[in-house]
């Protein structure tokens, strides 16, 4: 399981924790997050900006 960070705003996505409040279950790999997902902090689409591995 990896931790990822949004290059625009620094938002952290931890695969172990997921984002249950956004309907993304704990343990969801970054690769399995839908393409239409957007960063909850800055609204950047997954397709636009890569998340960088922390």
């Amino acid at each position: 399981m990896k931790v990822w960070q949004c290059v625009v705003c620094g938002f952290i996505y931890d695969e172990t924790k997921g984002l249950p409040e956004e309907g993304i279950k704990p343990g969801t790999a970054w690769a399995d997050i839908p393409e239409n997902w957007a960063c909850p902090d800055c609204g950047v689409a997954k397709a636009d900006f890569d998340m960088v591995e922390v």
Binding site: V8, E21, E22, D41, C42
Partner: protein, 379 residues
């Protein structure tokens, strides 16, 4: 066709160029920056210390790489002295640059409070990557840090610095943290969690003077008390950069005045980001910048569109006690009501017809941000 020229390589300038490139693969675009134009996450400047980030490691994409990816002409380290609107050209340190349309994404300067004392010039503010590098250097020999301002940036730095082992004192003339964004019931939730990290709060007092002392700086406060610190960090807000626009005769107010199409009083000049006042509002946060950049990209590619701002919560990155807030205007009619308590608080702001208009979520409640936004969108 003369190029679209964008002044500024911050989030506003780069997001605009990126969005514009998606809509128009061929438009000639020139981006002019006064600094290196490397891309970094500005919101991380106030929480990068605990992550061990240096200024270099905050750069996610080097300027030359962005220029190549986006197919733009990039002029780093270039000062713009003036806009000659009648000729549609810019006077710069790299010579005269002609523009077809011009976008001002100039950002904002940190507000500097007028302070007395022989060391008032030593106050540090962190508003860009170069500032961050200087800040990190100065921290190397510091143990105690005084932060002026308990707003969003002040609280984020307090958390970051205290978390990294510095003894932090936060000084603010108001009564509680984040008082510009939320009511006391919510803002005061930050007090104990940050105190537990090693933050000392000094509310109801302003810094009057800063003088050098044997080891660092001596601060004199308006209530007559004093404290000493090895570094003084100021975080009291931003002032939009409007001088270039003003001297070119464009309409300015608090920011560069633009309409919902991001167009200034000159039909070929646009503004967005921290320097802009869009329909009367200055919104120096990430989400409004993203929305404005997308709208302006459509306008520049010929679409008749206007920026529409949805409910845009502001996230305060204080890991010791996270906060998400959807602020309401100071004079908005309505009432803040507590919806839940426990590890933090959940407040909603309801108007006279009992509709949810704003919220303040702290601690564990901050995770309910998306849910709360949906409730507002449903109104």
């Amino acid at each position: 066709m003369k190029p679209i020229v964008v002044l500024g390589s911050g989030l506003a300038g780069y997001t605009l160029v990126r969005e514009l490139r998606k809509l128009d693969r061929d438009a000639a675009i020139t981006l002019v920056s006064q600094d290196s134009a490397d891309f970094y996450s500005k919101p991380m400047l106030s929480n990068a210390l605990a992550q061990g980030k240096t200024a270099e490691s905050l750069v996610t994409t080097a300027a030359a790489e962005i220029a190549r990816q986006l197919g733009i002409t990039l002029l780093p380290h270039t000062e713009v002295f003036g806009i000659r609107r009648e000729n549609k050209e810019l006077q710069t340190s790299a010579g005269v640059i002609e523009y077809g349309r011009l976008v001002l994404a100039l950002g904002a300067d940190p507000i500097r409070l007028p302070l007395q004392g022989d060391a008032s010039e030593a106050v540090v503010s962190v508003n860009d990557l170069a500032d961050y590098a200087k800040f990190r250097n100065a921290l190397a020999s510091a143990k105690t840090v005084a932060i002026i301002g308990a707003g969003l940036i002040g609280c984020e730095f307090a958390n970051d610095l205290a978390g990294a082992g510095y003894a932090v004192t936060v000084i603010d003339p108001t009564a509680y943290p984040l008082s510009g964004l939320m009511p006391e019931q919510a803002g005061s939730q930050l007090l104990a969690p940050l105190s537990a990290l090693g933050v000392t709060w000094r509310f109801g007092a302003a810094v009057k003077a800063i003088d050098s002392d044997a080891t660092g700086y001596a601060l004199t406060l308006s209530d007559g008390t004093a404290l000493s610190a090895d570094m003084v960090l100021s975080a009291v807000g931003l002032r939009p950069r409007i001088e270039l626009a003003r001297s070119a005769g464009l309409a300015v107010n608090r920011g560069i005045v633009v309409d919902a199409q991001l167009r200034s009083s000159d039909k070929d000049i646009f503004a967005l980001g921290d320097c802009a006042e869009i329909d009367g509002r200055v919104l120096p946060y990430v989400l409004p910048i993203m929305h404005a950049a997308r709208a302006l990209a459509r306008v520049l590619s010929g679409e008749d569109t206007q920026v529409e701002f949805p409910a845009m919560p502001v996230v305060v990155k204080t890991p010791a006690h996270p906060v998400a807030v959807l602020p309401v205007p100071r004079d908005a009619p309505g009432t803040w009501i507590s919806l839940a308590e426990g590890q933090g608080i959940k407040l909603g702001f309801f108007d006279e017809r009992d509709r949810l208009r704003g919220f303040a979520l702290t601690g564990t409640h901050s995770a309910q941000r998306s849910e709360m936004v949906k409730q507002i969108s449903a109104v």
